[in-house]
């Protein structure tokens, strides 16, 4: 049990590339911290630095208050679950799980007791004498987890542990991991590129991009109050819709018309600018609704849009619609976000297109114009120059 602290940590490779740039992050004792971001954002490097598998170029890394920069992995008392499990193929499941204890010269009967206990937790009892080659993917994954928990380490490090499982098993294992962490109350750092895992598992989520920590917050806070365009676009599926617009006094000009600003939004925007200003507007798909199903008690704006495509999910319908965009949507941040998502060359992902998540009872059909409703309380406004949110309530990035 221990807290982990990054204090201005830099990872620089010999060729000068900085994988992690001045990262400061405090992970509390018994906390489940998720590091999430697109591939190559430095999240795995950060995890490997905690494990001691990567050197730290600058700054301090503390585990349990002690600087561990120069400590070998074996002296850090942390357990790691690898993406490809890294089970020792020449050992049985029992030997795999007991390997760390054996290295520590724990007595035989204690090793046996603890391995049996972990196997019971993970329902691996009948597989203990088998070799990893004879196990299914899900079983191997559980052995890898078991190898970590028998050690009762200071912290668990997990490097995309579920990404090799098929979709159904992944959902199951997600629950197993979550339950396990809650029961053991061990500090856990979990790396993933899957924002669903990030949202469902973590006490707090740290979003990274290009080696820089973007925002550290609870999943709810990340979703409701993203600090910048990147976080807003990365968290949430389907992703937030962005379009160009402008604020001018009490109204915000959007492709859907000049929408009056609600008081709360207006107040937070006033601190940023006065007069007319070009902005990027972000609206989550669920903040659109079929006008006939518009919820009571919210300020809204109704507009008409041509539905281009509908995707029925059963419980809801994703309605893709086009809008006329005269404001050119230009932002460095947005372009990078699309590149990270691999959709920069998909025409529909650029401006002029949005997704609404409407009620399943809605009669939206492709090719028809439909009245849609926009929840104006939930509009996000971003500054196109630096991508920062202008509507975010508080700003406390990286605070422990």
């Amino acid at each position: 049990m221990a807290e982990i602290e990054f204090d201005d940590v830099v990872k620089r490779y010999p060729d000068g590339f900085e994988a992690v740039k001045h990262m400061s992050l405090g992970i509390r004792d018994a906390e489940f911290m998720i590091l999430v971001g697109p591939s190559g954002c430095g999240k795995s490097t950060a995890l490997r630095m905690i494990a001691g598998l990567e050197d730290i170029s600058e700054g301090d890394l503390k585990i349990g208050g002690e600087v561990v920069n120069d400590l070998a992995p074996k002296d850090r008392d942390i357990a790691m679950v690898f993406q490809n499990y890294a089970l020792y193929p020449h050992m049985t499941v029992r030997e795999n799980m007991g390997f760390a204890l054996k290295l520590r010269k724990a007595p035989q009967d204690e090793i046996k007791r603890r391995v049996d206990e972990a196997a019971k937790t993970l329902e691996l009892e009948q597989h203990l004498e088998r070799k990893p080659a004879n196990l299914s993917g899900g079983q191997r994954q559980r052995v890898a987890m078991g190898r970590a928990i028998v050690r009762e380490p200071k912290a668990f490090l997990m490097d995309e542990p579920l990404s090799n499982l098929d979709a159904k098993l992944r959902v199951e294992m997600r629950a197993v991991v979550s339950r396990l962490q809650q029961r053991l109350e061990t500090t856990t750092v979990y790396v993933t590129h899957d924002q669903t895992e990030a949202m469902t598992l973590g006490d707090r989520v740290a979003v990274m991009r290009a080696g820089i920590l973007q925002q550290v917050d609870s999943p709810r806070e990340l979703y409701d109050n993203p600090r910048n365009i990147f976080v807003a676009g990365f968290i949430g599926s389907p992703a937030m819709n962005f379009f160009g617009g402008a604020i001018d006094g009490n109204v915000i000009h959007t492709p859907m018309g000049a929408v009056p600003l609600v008081d709360a939004l207006r107040r937070s925007l006033e601190s940023h600018s006065s007069g007319r200003k070009d902005v990027i507007i972000g609206v989550r798909p669920e903040d659109f609704e079929d006008a006939n199903f518009a919820p009571e008690g919210h300020e809204g704006w109704t507009f008409e849009a041509p539905i281009e495509l509908t995707e029925s999910m059963g419980a809801e319908i994703y309605a893709h619609f086009d809008f006329d965009s005269d404001a050119e949507l230009e932002s460095e941040e947005l372009r990078e976000l699309q590149e990270d998502a691999g959709t920069s060359d998909v025409p529909s992902s650029s401006s002029g297109h949005a997704v609404a998540r409407v009620d399943a009872g809605s009669g939206v059909t492709a090719g028809q114009r439909t009245k849609l409703w926009l929840n104006t309380e939930k509009i996000h406004v971003f500054d196109p120059s630096d991508g920062h949110s202008m509507t975010r309530v508080s700003d406390n990035v990286g605070a422990a």
Binding site: A51, N84, Y88, P89, H90, A100, L135, R147
Partner: protein, 299 residues
């Protein structure tokens, strides 16, 4: 009555079912002429060895007979060579020299190969190329200088005097084989061991080496065969049964008179020293079968 689609009950895999599945032919049937070709190759390869056994079972005038089977098979040749102290001592020398060479080559070679396979080292390719080049040097080039040097420093006619030059060809070979095996082992496994609390050496010994066992077996067998069969240096660098190995000792076998060539005992001795190699290869054949790393990472 509404018809409802029924799902066929899944059949469980019983041993009988598994047998049936395996029984399916893996590919086209081997044509008859292929068997003739195979037989021809087998005879071509094994006949010389058979002839060696044939001769080793003959004595006296029978040695001149060219019949396919020895007219009066006898084990006299075998009895005589095992009574000959020159031969039994040579057997011991061979065993000591070949085994020591193998063990040393595997130990030093695996450290060296591990470094070459894992460390970020500039000029790795060059080092590996040099290592391989050394093993191609003709031994006769070093035989004479070594004879002089060994005489001067007292290594002439000793076990160590043979083991050291043998390592010059054994090491490059084992390094070369082991580098490719070590490279195959996923790095994650070592990292897992390190995080599990192993030192670098423990990770090497308990995870890497067991997984590279097929490579170690291959390198070990080739080294052992090379050292066991070596003749030129063995003849040059030994002078008595104190250190002379079997291939050299056989060359000094004499018949009843000095001018008679002892075909019978030479053949018997040749058969005797072939047997360990054959057993070795048969025994380790299973180890060489790959697939030991199966299941290490996601399959």
């Amino acid at each position: 009555m509404a018809s409802v689609a029924t799902t066929p009950k899944p059949t469980t895999t019983t041993p009988e079912v598994a047998k049936k599945r395996k029984a399916r032919p893996a590919g086209p049937k081997t044509p008859w002429w292929m068997w003739i070709v195979i037989a021809a190759i087998v005879v071509f390869c094994l006949f010389p060895f058979y002839w060696l056994i044939n001769i080793s079972l003959k004595t006296g005038n029978d040695l001149l007979s060219s019949s396919l089977f020895p007219p009066n098979p006898t084990l006299d040749n075998y009895r005589s060579i095992f009574k000959n102290p020159d031969f039994t001592k040579a057997l011991r020398n061979s065993a000591v020299v070949a085994l020591s060479t193998t063990v040393l080559a595997l130990m030093v070679g695996s450290f060296c190969a591990y470094a070459l396979a894992r460390l970020k080292l500039r000029g790795k390719g060059v080092i590996l190329a040099i290592v391989l080049t050394i093993s191609t040097f003709p031994q006769i080039a070093i035989a004479a200088p070594l004879f002089k040097l060994w005489s001067d420093i007292g290594l002439f006619n000793t076990w160590l005097g043979l083991i050291i030059p043998y390592l010059t060809f054994a090491l490059p070979l084992s390094v070369y084989i082991l580098v490719s095996f070590f490279k195959e082992i996923p790095r994650d496994l070592e990292e897992a061991a390190l995080v599990d609390g192993a030192t670098h050496f423990q990770a090497f010994r308990k995870v890497v080496v067991p997984l590279a066992a097929p490579g170690l077996a291959t390198a070990g067998i080739l080294t052992f065969i090379g050292a066991w069969n070596e003749f030129l240096l063995a003849v040059t660098l030994t002078s008595s049964s104190k250190a002379r190995t079997v291939p050299a000792a056989i060359a000094f076998f004499t018949g009843a008179t000095e001018h008679e060539v002892a075909y019978g005992s030479i053949s018997a001795a040749s058969v005797v020293i072939s047997v360990p190699l054959i057993l070795l290869v048969l025994f380790f054949q299973k180890r060489i079968v790959a697939g030991l790393t199966a299941g290490a990472v996601k399959g």
